[in-house]
Point group: C2
Chain length 194, copies 2
Amino acid sequence: MSNDKRHLKLLSEEPCSAVDTSEVDDVCETSGAGDAQLTGGYLQVGDLAKLTGKTVRAIHLYESLGLIEPAKRSKGGYRLFSSDTPSRVRWISKLQSLGLSLSEIQGIAERRKAFGSARSASSDLLTIYEAKLREVRERLAEYQSLEQELVASVDFLKACQHVCVGEPHVSGCSQCERRHEESRVPDLVSGAQA
Amino acid sequence: MSNDKRHLKLLSEEPCSAVDTSEVDDVCETSGAGDAQLTGGYLQVGDLAKLTGKTVRAIHLYESLGLIEPAKRSKGGYRLFSSDTPSRVRWISKLQSLGLSLSEIQGIAERRKAFGSARSASSDLLTIYEAKLREVRERLAEYQSLEQELVASVDFLKACQHVCVGEPHVSGCSQCERRHEESRVPDLVSGAQA
DNA sequence: TTGCTCCTCACGTCACGTGAGGTGGC
DNA sequence: TTGCTCCTCACGTCACGTGAGGTGGC
């Protein structure tokens, strides 16, 4: 009935690599030309990308939408981000994983600015997260049933491999399937026939 | 390191509604103008859409890509689909949920046609499904950690509601958070600050 | 000078969404 | 005739991808 067209993108978590020689505790340094220590503690866009698993293009997009902002620019025009930006980008990423569009995320950010009180700001987030928690649990159930169907399909196809001796033609599959007595043919197998 | 840009769309399962007066066992009839019994057992595009939770536009797209095909057309040009098409569309849908693009699905369908033997056709599917099973299990783990972070964030924000008495300004949140002694501030909460 | 990273356009892509203008079928 | 469903273009959308052509910084 409802046309739920939500996309759910999942994060590649990319945790900080262990070596961390800096005193700033929220930023993992990467060795090389873009090292934050060479840019006075700031992160270049490539560093930010690596730390968050996003592309440079995506980060440019988030900036153009007002979701993040470089602390300043180098004299050559390079964006220099402060050390709390990775956390901000991860926040955007996780909200996307929860099915929010970038314009919905803009809305949340703008409401947060508009709210006078901390109480109403946190209450706004609370409402959203409670709803998303219910949705995520539904998605989890759907994924688990997909997992089960994959398991059933793999089992079924392995049985095919044993039954189909002597290289019969593909067109025979629809008849053959009726002879796997064990159980019903999974959608992932039956749908594969044109 | 790797830029995994997979989208995962989830299905709205839309199981057949119970009432089924037809003899065809794979199709649930919907009452009304589009009733398959009025079109000689065939399904109109709107029926197919309802049965699969897809839009008419999506079904047109799948046809243009050669993934499905109407059994015939009415004299007025209406597409008439046979009763096994819903299963085919659900197959497409589930492969999309597994992160396959429509052109990848085209590839699978074309290879299936090209394969001479049933054995090699099922072995092709088997390879794909085994890989997808591993991916789905990774996604499940990621979703579960998202769920946990949502739970932690909801708890945290509820604590905020109790701590923030007297309508302090939002800007105070970053200081306030340090006083919730219980645990670390979740990304979903800390990232919300600009 | 070399090599890597960055800059700003700006068009391309994927899976549809959304009308526009018209016709079929009971 | 009315109302619902369908038809075929064809442009729009969302979150980027992917060059093009040029410059910064060690």
